[in-house]
């Protein structure tokens, strides 16, 4: 895949000449992150930022549009636009970039080229320069990187949406990665969302505005949480003991003495991302096992850890040479409180039996669907969608996630639900939907064939989940 800068340069001159396009991302790396609401509003007034905001608006507006209209809008939003949006997000480096990642995981509304481009963004966004980085380390840890570590690579090996990642070696010999946040960025997330809310204001007269707004607020809160590396370190420390060596699933160890709210030092996992894994042309069994590991990791965190791993995109997983799987980013975790846990427990019954009436009961409770006849179509569609999401699990046996027709069917169902404004649901629904699509999208790209029920039941058993109250 060419670099973003090359792609931007290669754009045909539609509307404006290529020379007038925003500077390539390589140059954007030197642009500081602006702090302060007014300045950021100024930025959002630029062409590329408007396009970025338009994408977000499109995503939310999707709830108010029919499927046909959506297709029309899609045609209008060429993938050139996605590239310009990347440039804009590289500039802001904050919540808008994160929103880009969200869009990247909703393949039903964005062109596939856009999804792939965003995948690239997960780990190739532009770096801060060394002097700034070094000063951040000194500011946070009280000493320069070269004094704190045996070695520290000056070039970033990956981008984090709120900063960047560097390889280093501890004085005790361990290979680590150090995630460093751009100064002041954590506090800009609230500003970003307030600005974006202004762009979304035209949608406030829509029937479900309150619901859309509450879901946006939910995302904002989670992003703010994600910006807190101390919270992420706590999540990593909570998740790590859930996996044994034999599981072949790695959660990096945190080094608290070299970590703060803005810096996170953890074990380096030597592996490759999904794209590179696929380029190596793995056998069907290797693909299947990779898919099983993804599901196993997710279910383990869920059942044994009561943690909802929400940030399900290819940049967060590493495939190791020996078949093991590494989990990287624990910023966007949803700890399941007792109330939500009880609700999910009741949902599990439906997912176990697969009976239509159990599915209906589950989606009614989840999405607050009433017995009112006006809710009948919503119920039908929601059950269809739940069936698409979970049939692989309750049917058991090998399920072919590479089945394109099935993937498209799910996307169409989601599109229809969105088009009919059936988005009214719990605040965490956006997060759950993102995770579901992220997971399905990765399994689809892996073309994995997996017995989901077998993997899931194994994890349920290991977690000692008590199902006696089902009967």
């Amino acid at each position: 895949m060419p670099t973003i800068a090359e792609l931007i340069r290669a754009l045909p001159g539609e509307g404006e000449p290529a020379a007038a396009l925003p500077q390539p991302l390589a140059a954007a790396s030197m642009r500081p992150v602006p702090v302060g609401r007014l300045r950021r509003m100024g930025l959002l007034g630029t062409l590329q930022a408007k396009i970025a905001a338009a994408y977000l608006f499109y995503w939310v507006r999707g709830y108010f549009r029919g499927a046909q209209e959506k297709e029309k809008l899609l045609a209008e939003t060429h993938w050139r636009t996605a590239l310009r949006m990347l440039d804009s997000m590289g500039y802001l480096k904050g919540a808008i970039m994160k929103i880009g990642q969200m869009l990247g995981n909703l393949p039903e509304i964005v062109p596939s080229e856009f999804v792939e481009t965003l995948d690239e963004l997960h780990y190739t966004a532009p770096p801060m320069h060394w002097s700034l980085l070094s000063e951040m380390v000194h500011n946070e840890l009280g000493n320069d990187p070269e004094n704190l570590f045996a070695s520290f690579e000056r070039r970033a090996c990956a981008a984090a949406s709120l900063g960047q990642v560097h390889r280093a070696r501890l004085r005790t010999g361990e290979d680590v990665v150090v995630k460093i946040q751009y100064p002041g960025i954590a506090r800009t997330i609230g500003e970003d969302f307030r600005n974006l809310s202004l762009f979304l204001l035209p949608g406030r007269l829509g029937k479900d505005w309150d619901n859309v707004k509450s879901q946006m607020d939910d995302l904002r809160l989670r992003l703010e949480k994600e910006a807190d590396y101390e919270a992420e370190a706590a999540m990593l420390t909570r998740a790590r003991p859930l996996f044994r060596e034999a599981d072949g699933i790695l959660v990096p160890r945190v080094y608290p003495e070299l970590s703060t709210a803005r810096i996170l030092t953890m074990d380096r996992i030597p592996g490759v991302h999904l794209e590179e894994f696929l380029q190596r042309k793995p056998s069907q069994e290797q693909r299947n096992e990779a898919g099983r590991q993804l599901l196993r990791a997710w279910y383990r965190l869920f059942f044994a850890g009561r943690l909802f791993y929400a940030d399900f995109h290819p940049g967060n997983f590493l495939f190791l040479e020996d078949g093991r799987l590494g989990l990287l980013d624990f910023g966007f975790m949803l700890p399941l409180d007792p109330e939500l846990w009880q609700l999910l427990y009741r949902m599990d019954r439906a997912l176990t039996t697969g009976r239509r009436e159990d599915l209906a009961t589950a989606v009614k409770e989840w999405s607050w669907i009433t017995e009112d006849p006006s809710d009948a179509d919503r119920l039908r569609l929601s059950v269809e969608y739940a069936d698409w999401c979970w049939s692989a699990r309750y049917c058991g046996g090998e399920f072919d996630f590479g089945d394109e027709a099935d993937f498209v069917r799910g996307a169409a169902l989601f599109g229809e639900m969105a088009g009919k404004r059936y988005s009214r649901s719990r605040p965490c629904t956006a997060t759950v939907a993102r995770q579901q699509f992220g997971c399905r999208s990765m399994l689809y790209r892996l073309k994995a064939k997996i017995d989901v029920r077998a993997v899931c039941e194994e994890e349920i058993k290991a977690a000692d989940w008590d199902r006696r109250s089902y009967t």
């Binding site: 030197m30 500081p32 320069h129 002097s131 700034l132 100064p183 002041g184 709210a261 803005r262």
Partner: protein
């Protein structure tokens, strides 16, 4: 004669140490020259034999801190990939040394360090001249010719603005100052690069 000079130097040093402690404990505004004289165990009027004002004491403390920063910076093996990066490293080195004086800097920013200052005084010169010389040298090393007086004045305005911001920066560990420094240097270097080569002194090969 020699003893007198030594005594003078020792008294001057005592005043600086006492002032530094008192500014840190009480703040610049709440500290009087009488307090300083008492802490330095000298007569109240004697302070003025050495420093004409409290601001001059801050300027002197700042000049010493900056000189130390410059000496350390000169010993460093700087591997900057861009003018911004080189300048950032230099200013950041100064900020580290100036940190104990951070909140008292406005006292000198309005006087000896002001871009509008007519008479900057000896310490003011010590704060300004070596700094600008280093900036010129770093820019030259990154491919620019000698910076014009206008470029230096523009730079100094950005720099003193940064110090002013830093003095009252309430963000965690003053991280916003780092972002502002990054932004300011981006703006300055962009201005240098954006001007016609003959006017900015930017070299042909750049």
């Amino acid at each position: 004669m020699r003893v007198t000079a030594e005594t003078q130097a020792a008294t001057r040093e005592r005043i600086l140490v006492a002032s530094s402690d008192l500014f840190a404990a009480r703040g610049f505004e709440a500290t009087t020259t009488r307090d300083i004289a008492r802490a330095a165990e000298i007569g109240a009027g004697t302070v003025f034999n050495y420093f004409p004002s409290k601001e001059a004491i801050v300027a002197s403390l700042a000049a010493a801190a900056v000189a130390e920063a410059h000496a350390e910076f000169a010993r460093r093996d700087l591997e900057a990939e861009s003018p911004q990066e080189a300048l950032f490293a230099f200013v950041a080195a100064e900020l580290r040394k100036l940190k104990p004086l951070r909140k008292h800097l406005p006292a000198v920013l309005e006087t000896v360090l002001s871009p509008l200052a007519h008479n900057e005084g000896e310490d003011g010169r010590w704060l300004r001249v070596p700094h600008l010389e280093t900036v010129s040298r770093l820019c030259h090393r990154q491919g620019f010719k000698e910076l014009s007086p206008v470029a230096l004045q523009l730079y100094w305005s950005l720099y003193t603005g940064l110090l002013q911001f830093w003095a009252s920066d309430s963000s965690p560990r003053q991280e916003d100052t780092l972002a502002l420094l990054d932004h300011s240097l981006e703006m300055f270097v962009g201005w240098l690069e954006g001007r016609p080569a003959e006017a900015s002194g930017q070299s042909e090969e750049k």
